[in-house]
Symmetry: C2
Subunit: 413 residues, 2 copies
């Protein structure tokens, strides 16, 4: 087993450096011909760790870290994952057997992503019904649990999340007060409240998380916005009202490719003929692929990040028009870096809520996600959609202009 893992690492690590401390105490350094790149190390405490890394590395590494069977060696878990992801993101050439497996993987994907309403609810509860205090200890004050927007790259997390909401509002063309907005997957209500407060919208936010619902409703009441913002515990498939605008941020990842047709037929049914939708979702810039098994097991059961080809095909079949596609690259890596640092800074407080294994699980999730956005083709798609191609301006400059005006207004306020 030692030999098998050794052979894999020799082939994998072509950039940067990886030190491995084997269970017998020996230290070996793996590095490709390219001397540049980050360095990291890993301690493997037992042969179980080696065996599991050979047979199912995607699932094993996270579990070994959670259980203390494998640990970073003189570096952080992020630095370890950075070296691994940097090298996994390279083109190593696919073994014909691996290609065959991709075919099987496609079928497995369909099964993994079978998300009828009852599973969706259970899957959402798995992650979003965690103790609310946890999220307040690593997210920004508005609890935006999705990719922020860094126009200069120098923004604080709070500023970047505000910029994200302005970016979305600009694309939603909330150019007059009183527009009815449906927010599919409203989280703790931050976006819905902003659209009501700053843009005069009337918003229905729906979520499947009981924890999020209670918090969102409390915030609406506290801000005196309950007359303009409603929150409901509701599956997207059950919505039948019509809206001027639909927004959906960081929720589409939970839909599953089996259900894209249902999702967009909901959008088509609920969006007025002159309406506009903005869909914000994690995606992959390469061809369709599967979800990492560790992420699926521990963080997002039923989740899937689409390739643009899959997303576009679903929209085309729905009869809706795609009017714009922005590919947000690296913004999520920056966002996750902020979350990871806040999580680390608040680790003591978090261990009063959850145990050490949970903390390691969460750290592995944040670090792995950041590395995957930096090195492994993960991106965020913002897709603007309309029933009629005439619904949005001829040129995109209105987005930049609206955002800058809103930003100036905010600074002078």
């Amino acid at each position: 087993m030692h030999k098998a893992l050794d052979a894999i690492l020799r082939r994998l690590i072509l950039q940067g450096r990886l030190d491995v401390r084997w269970p017998d105490g020996r230290l070996h350094t793996y590095s490709g011909g390219e001397s540049s790149g980050p360095a990291a190390g890993i301690v493997l405490h037992n042969t179980r760790a080696i065996r599991r890394l050979v047979f199912n590395p995607g699932l094993a590494l996270g579990e070994l870290y959670m259980d203390g069977d494998a640990e970073p060696l003189e570096c952080s878990i992020y630095e370890l994952l950075e070296v691994l992801m940097l090298n996994l993101g390279r083109d190593h050439g696919l073994h014909p057997g691996a290609r065959f497996n991709l075919g099987l993987a496609r079928i497995k994907r369909r099964i993994d992503q079978y998300n009828p309403a009852v599973s969706s609810r259970r899957n959402v509860a798995h992650h979003y019904d965690l103790n609310g205090r946890l999220y307040s200890l690593f997210l920004d004050r508005d609890r935006q649990y999705s990719c922020a927007y860094f126009p200069t790259g120098q923004e604080s997390l709070e500023e970047a999340q505000a910029a994200k909401k302005r970016h979305i509002a600009a694309k939603l063309m909330l150019d007059r007060p009183g527009l009815n907005v449906l927010d599919i997957g409203c989280g703790w209500g931050g976006l819905a409240l902003t659209l009501a407060r700053d843009y005069g919208a009337r918003v229905l936010g729906i979520t499947l998380s009981q924890e999020q619902l209670v918090e969102a409703q409390a915030r609406a009441a506290a801000e005196g916005l309950s007359d303009r913002v409603r929150f409901e515990l509701r599956d997207y498939r059950s919505v039948n009202e019509q809206f001027d605008r639909i927004v959906s941020v960081g929720m589409f990842e939970h839909v599953g490719v089996n259900h894209y047709a249902e999702y967009f037929s909901t959008v088509r049914r609920c969006l007025k003929p002159e309406g506009v939708m903005l869909l914000h979702s994690i995606g992959r810039s390469g061809p369709p692929g599967g979800t990492n098994p560790w992420i699926r097991k521990y963080i997002f059961p039923g989740g899937y990040s689409p390739a643009l080809s899959e997303l576009m095909a679903a929209i085309e079949r729905s009869g809706l028009c795609t009017t714009d596609v922005e590919v947000l690259r690296l913004h999520y890596a920056e966002t996750l870096r902020h979350w990871r640092r806040r999580f680390a800074a608040n680790r003591d407080a978090i261990t009063t809520i959850y145990d050490e294994r949970f903390c390691r699980m969460f750290e592995f999730y944040l670090a792995g996600s950041e590395a995957s956005f930096r090195y492994d083709h993960n991106v965020v798609f913002q897709v603007q959609i309309a029933p009629d191609q005439r619904n949005v301006p001829l040129v995109r400059d209105y987005i930049t202009d609206a955002e800058r005006a809103a930003s100036r207004q905010r600074q002078s306020a």
Copy 2:
């Protein structure tokens, strides 16, 4: 046959109005419940026209118009096509038989779009080696034979074509002089010369049209730019040099879906690791479909407009990253309106070059294309592509900013 066509028209015309003068002299008006919308009419001179419209309307209408068997009734050919396209663009519900045909159509599409280098050359010659004077009689002075860009909608054709080139240059990030640019499908050289003159680029423009090559080379010499701009008669598949930038405007429509992998492997091979590409192509905002048989026979043999899902799938498989997608809607309808009007204004001069049947063919092509961009889900995709997602700025504002700066500079010059 009369009855069959009558039944089709009753079902088809739901918006606006269509008067039909049948061969026996009777006049019948078709209009749906919706009173609004444009009105037009058609004269059918003989039963042959009726029969052909029933069996193969996509091919027949254009041929009948070219041969004088069918003509607009008290309206222009554009107004006639407008009413037809407006109604064809609606969702009439597909007959199960039609769905089956779509399956066969997919196979036929593959055959129609088999474009090895020798066919590509023949197909290009078919349209672009027409007498050069023809193009000067309906295009702008720079002979931009692709969709213009109308930021306000009020621009002249000359202004809108200049704005299009600025828009493309901004996305190409020509932020320093001396960058090497490959222009795949350079036409009469207008874009290549602009990039050299205004942005200091060194450009290789390739075309398969002998007429275009001669004209482009003459223009480069006349402008004293021959040291910075080369034009060659060359298939995209034969290029092996590496470039900082690749641009391809209005050429991808001739590639054919069978050859997308070859096209993007050429891009991958010829684009430096830190490079950027801008692809500008007609596409359809609905699901993949075929090319109109009349257009394929008379105007663009081997041509095909992709759905975004097809285009994205090909880019994903190539290992390149899509960094931005703009969907230019209605700009081509405006462009074609300008071309159609110029063509009409210069009709007398054009009939000294080509016969009446050719003129009618060209009018039908321009009018049909305009109507299809206005009513039938045709759009233009501008896709920015890079080997690495880090090659372009984090946010898109740089496009607006660069264009506005270039526009101000131009006005003050």
